[in-house]
């Protein structure tokens, strides 16, 4: 008989999905991080939120964490696949500059979620990250816990096509994976999201999100109106481009005052760029972007995103 057939004595965690998030947030709050709320514009990843994408630029230190719902329309599976979601939760953390014990802190954060590292196998395996449309890349690892990738750990090197100095460490925890792993459930939808402290009644991930996965899969794959999506795209792009042109003229104007420069709405411009990025993902999921068009459209988004980053760097230097 194989040793592997010994009865597993694996005790699932009693922590709920929200407990895990609370613990993670508490842990990082105690280590000097701002705990932000999720950004309220659709993004494909926590990196794209201004709290990461713009804050990493320039010299100012910053530490922030937030749980970001991240939308990838093409990954939707109508709620039928136990491992894949249209929208998943990234706990995103930025440490700028990274402390010398950043890896040790990370391990402590795992223990804060009840992971006893003495009973697990943890490896840091090379995995470099890039977001071409954001002119952003970094080197780092996928952190593997018993063969499961639970975190992307990146040392940001460039953003918006600009070298970063200081650099920052970006930790992205895949919360659904971690919760399913610790609760030992085979489907994300069986994750216990919350438990009533009095009755013990569980609310599952499926209770909270299944309808959303189903309906958005239907919309993203079947019903999103392609010509209208293009209209939205073009319209957001046009507004963003117009704002960018004004921003560049103003920020390079030596006679303009610092106050005038500081109040220019680059954050709003960036939201318009994020809208375009999400619309692109939707069009892609609808199969509406041919391969030949693809590179061109990504280039248009890049122009907006990198354009905002460059203008933002100038705006930070003003006064």
């Amino acid at each position: 008989m194989s040793a592997a057939q010994a009865a597993p004595r694996v005790k699932p965690t009693s922590l709920t999905f929200q407990d895990l998030l609370f613990r993670l947030q508490r842990f990082w709050a105690e280590r000097g991080c701002v705990i932000q709320q999720p950004y309220d514009v659709e993004v494909g990843a926590g990196t794209m939120c201004p709290e990461t994408f713009l804050r990493v630029l320039g010299p100012k230190p910053y530490r922030v964490g937030y749980a970001q719902p991240s939308r990838r329309p093409a990954d939707g599976r109508y709620g039928e696949n136990p491992n894949r979601l249209f929208k998943h939760t990234q706990f995103q953390l930025i440490l700028k500059p990274p402390p010398v014990n950043v890896q040790e802190l990370y391990l402590e954060s795992l223990e804060a979620m009840g992971i006893d590292l003495k009973h697990h196998d943890l490896k840091f395996e090379e995995d470099n990250w890039e977001w071409p449309a954001g002119g952003a890349w970094g080197v780092g690892w996928q952190v593997m816990l018993d063969g499961l990738e639970i975190t992307q750990f990146t040392y940001f090197q460039q953003c918006g096509g600009m070298d970063l100095d200081p650099i920052c460490a970006e930790l992205t925890y895949g919360m659904e994976r971690i919760a399913a792993f610790l609760q030992d459930v085979d489907s994300i939808y069986d994750i216990v999201w919350a438990r009533d402290p009095e009755t013990g009644a569980a609310v599952t991930y499926g209770d909270v999100r299944l309808a959303e996965e189903l309906q958005f899969s239907v919309y993203n794959f079947e019903m999103a109106d392609v010509p209208r999506l293009w209209e939205h795209f073009n319209s957001y792009e046009a507004e963003a481009q117009a704002l960018l042109a004004k921003a560049n003229a103003l920020l390079q104007d030596e006679n303009a005052s610092a106050v005038e420069k500081k109040r220019f709405p680059l954050l709003a411009t960036y939201e318009l760029a994020l809208k375009c990025s999400n619309l692109f993902n939707l069009l892609d999921a609808r199969g509406a972007i041919s391969v030949t068009e693809r590179v061109g459209v990504i280039g248009r988004i890049r122009n907006l995103v990198v354009g905002v980053a460059k203008a933002w760097a100038l705006q930070q230097e003003a006064g």
Binding site: S2, A3, A4, Q5, A6, A7, P8, R9, V10, N81, P82, N83, P97, P98, V100, Q103, E104, L107, L117, K118, H119, H120, D121, L122, K123, F124, E125, E126, N128, G138, V139, W141, L145, D146, G147, L148, Y155, Q157, D163, D165, P166, I167, F181, D184, D186, S290, V291, T292, V295
Partner: protein, 694 residues
């Protein structure tokens, strides 16, 4: 004599880069110590590494360089001293030499009396030199990808440096690397030892001290531990073996500090999935070793190499976790397989129109049409000589070869392109010939790889690759220097390898003609293929470069024939007579070149009366030529070369006695005509003038 230890503590280094960096560190430390005269003759440098450290131990280091004495000579005595008093010239020299004027001596030289100075140089200590030089050496180590981490970006390295140990025996060498001052504090395994520093008492105690802190720093030892642990874990399943995978052993060796192995299981129902998919998931995605039964069939187990050692409870948790991940991946794969079966390969042709092959060229639909044209031309050549193969299967395979690009399973496992198409073709009942040809269309992937087994697979591989090469060259995408983004060299290597090893009645010319390349494009591709034949002969077959040059100069169109000629030439190269004839051919070539530069015309050797030695050479060559031609015709190259070697006495005598480029224009022309005939008559197997003696 001392031992010197350097350890650089790092955050986890990519496994693929470690072996090269470790060797380079050893080289740099050794070279520095030798350069600085700090290494005793019996010294040795040993290197170590784990996932998060890189170390070198030099045993037999001198504490200090030997003192040296140097004799310097300055200006002439007369200029340096006037009336016994030192002049500014003497003072300047003394200052330059670093001695007092009073210490200057008079030295007698053949040119007269000069000022001399004896300069003593005290040897510097090893600690001083290492502190100054070693940090630069460490930071110069090559990494495939570097990063910045400190503010102000003072240095780049593979990952942040977190600690440095530098010890001369028990004493810290005060050096600093990337802002970290060296000490004697190392670190152990993150979890098993914890964060407490590990103090290294002396350089020589490094390895054993770290072992107590749960880090096996000797890579060979770690590799051995892993292999034994894989064996031991596999023995718990009767009759089972783990599937040997050297590359994976290397990877996990460099991913760990304190390895152990667990055996886990998966549900036997997943064995219904193709083995290729199961192994790819285990090996490439999870870094697990596959397990097979006594018949070599995959068994429902896996082996995971851990970077920890744990108790029974931990082992159960880890096994359970890994099995859970694997099950989810297999479940996904099965889901994709099932989804893909709903659209058979034949129904996917249309959708290839939306998959770009190359922006300026077209889609994979276009690519497939092109491949079909090339394949039908190749098929024609084979049919003309009644070579057995199934034309119908070939065309079907070419037609469907790229359709798996639209399959979900290929999107998930891109490395299984072709393989999955083949498996689908089999599952969809398209016949074994079609399935196999699609399956093996991308082999050989490298020069070590085997060529396809089936004739149809070989033809598909040839057609696909030559079409790609010719089309890419056509739009100016030929590889340049180290840039070969479309892996065209690899594609051409595969063409050469297939032609060399498949026994197909095809030459490179046939393949190129089938691609309908024309004009400059064709010439360019031809030249490219010539380079690849040279590469194949030299790097894959191991022929010496001069043999390769000689053979290829006489033709490379028929790859197998070129190999046969190279074999014969390699054997003949040992014979002195042959080398002498080769040398003579080189001389002939030079003389002909000279003659051409001077405008000397070639004449007929029969037009004048020749000297006896010249006539003898003419006769010998004339007698030998038909014999050599016949042997060459029969591809008896060894015998042909032996025959050519018999020309030696005649050639030697000719060059000994005859002045080839004499003043008499008629005679000169006749000589030139003669040697030109000899050269051309016997260069059909190889251009012997390329052969380098010795």
């Amino acid at each position: 004599m001392s031992d010197f230890l350097l350890e650089i503590g790092l955050e986890e280094v990519p496994a693929r880069m470690m072996a090269g960096a470790e060797a380079e560190l050893g080289r740099r430390v050794g070279d520095l110590l030798i350069r600085e005269r700090l290494l005793a003759p019996e010294a040795k440098v040993t290197t170590y590494s784990t996932a998060r450290r890189l170390a070198a131990l030099a045993e037999g280091v001198l504490a200090k360089q030997a003192d040296t004495e140097e004799q310097l000579t300055g200006p002439s005595w007369k200029i340096a001293f006037k009336d016994g008093e030192p002049t500014p010239a003497a003072q300047a020299f003394a200052k330059k030499a670093g001695v007092a004027v009073a210490e200057l001596q008079k030295v007698e030289t053949p040119k007269g009396e000069y000022v001399g100075a004896t300069v003593k140089r005290l040897g510097r200590t090893a600690a001083e030199i290492l502190a100054g030089e070693l940090p630069k050496e460490v930071l110069a180590i090559y990494w495939a990808k570097n990063m910045y981490w400190r503010a102000g970006k003072p240095e780049r390295f593979v990952r942040p440096v977190r600690w440095v140990v530098a010890l001369m025996d028990a004493t810290v060498v005060p050096l600093e690397i990337a802002g970290i001052a060296a000490g004697n504090a190392s670190r152990g395994h993150r979890v098993l030892h914890g964060e407490a520093p590990v103090s290294i008492a002396s350089a020589g105690a490094y390895k054993e001290t770290l072992r107590k802190a749960f880090a096996v720093v000797d890579v060979a030892e770690r590799r051995q531990i892993i292999r034994k642990a894989l064996d031991a874990a596999t023995r718990t399943v009767a009759g089972a073996r783990w599937r040997e995978d050297e590359a994976l052993v290397e990877t996990v060796t460099h991913l760990t500090e304190w390895p152990s192995v667990i055996l886990g299981d998966f549900e036997p129902e997943y064995l219904a999935l193709p083995e290729e998919v199961l192994v790819t998931v285990m090996r490439d995605h999870q870094k697990y070793f596959a397990v097979e039964d006594e018949k070599g069939k995959l068994a429902p187990h896996f082996l995971a190499v851990l970077n920890t050692q744990t108790d029974a409870e931990g082992a159960a948790i880890i096994r359970h976790g890994n099995a859970r991940v694997l099950r989810a991946r297999f479940k996904d794969a099965r889901f994709f397989w099932d989804v893909d079966q709903k659209t058979p390969l034949a129904a996917r042709m249309e959708s290839l129109k939306t998959v770009t092959f190359q922006k300026e060229l077209g889609s994979y639909y276009w690519k497939t049409e092109q491949n079909l044209a090339v394949a039908s031309s190749l098929a024609g050549t084979l049919k003309a000589v009644d070579f057995p193969f199934s034309e119908e299967a070939l065309f079907k395979a070419v037609e469907l070869a790229k359709t798996d690009l639209t399959a979900e399973l290929v999107k998930e496992f891109t490395e299984l392109q072709g393989v999955i198409g083949g498996l689908y073709a089999r599952a969809q009942g398209l016949g074994e010939h079609v399935a196999l040809a699609i399956y093996e269309q991308y082999t050989p992937a490298s020069t070590e790889d085997e060529i396809p087994v089936s004739v149809e697979g070989r033809l598909l591989g040839l057609a696909d690759r030559i079409q790609t090469i010719v089309a890419m060259f056509g739009i100016g995408m030929a590889p340049t220097g180290s840039k070969d983004p479309f892996a065209l060299r690899r594609a051409a290597n595969a063409i050469v390898k297939i032609l060399a090893e498949a026994g197909l009645p095809l030459t490179l010319g046939d393949v190129l003609a089938a691609s309908s390349a024309e004009g400059g494009n064709k010439a360019q591709v031809e030249e490219f293929l010539r380079e690849r034949v040279q590469f194949y002969l030299k790097d894959v077959r191991g022929f010496a470069y001069d043999v390769v040059n000689a053979v290829v100069a006489a033709g490379f169109d028929d790859v197998r024939d070129a190999i046969a000629r190279a074999d014969a030439l390699k054997a003949a190269r040992g014979s002195e007579d042959f080398l002498a004839v080769s040398a003579a051919f080189k001389r002939i070539k030079n003389i002909l070149k000279q003659a051409e530069e001077k405008g000397f015309a070639l004449g007929s050797p029969t037009s004048v009366k020749l000297a006896a030695e010249a006539q003898q050479l003419a006769d010998a060559a004339a007698a030998l030529a038909p014999k050599v031609a016949a042997l060459r015709e029969q591809r008896k190259y060894g015998e042909a070369l032996a025959a050519i070697a018999t020309l030696r006495p005649a050639v030697d005598a000719f060059f000994d006695k005859v002045m080839v480029l004499g003043p008499d224009a008629n005679l000169r022309g006749a000589h030139l005509g003669l040697i030109d005939e000899v050269l051309r008559g016997f260069s059909g197997i190889a251009d012997f003038s390329e052969i380098v003696a010795g």
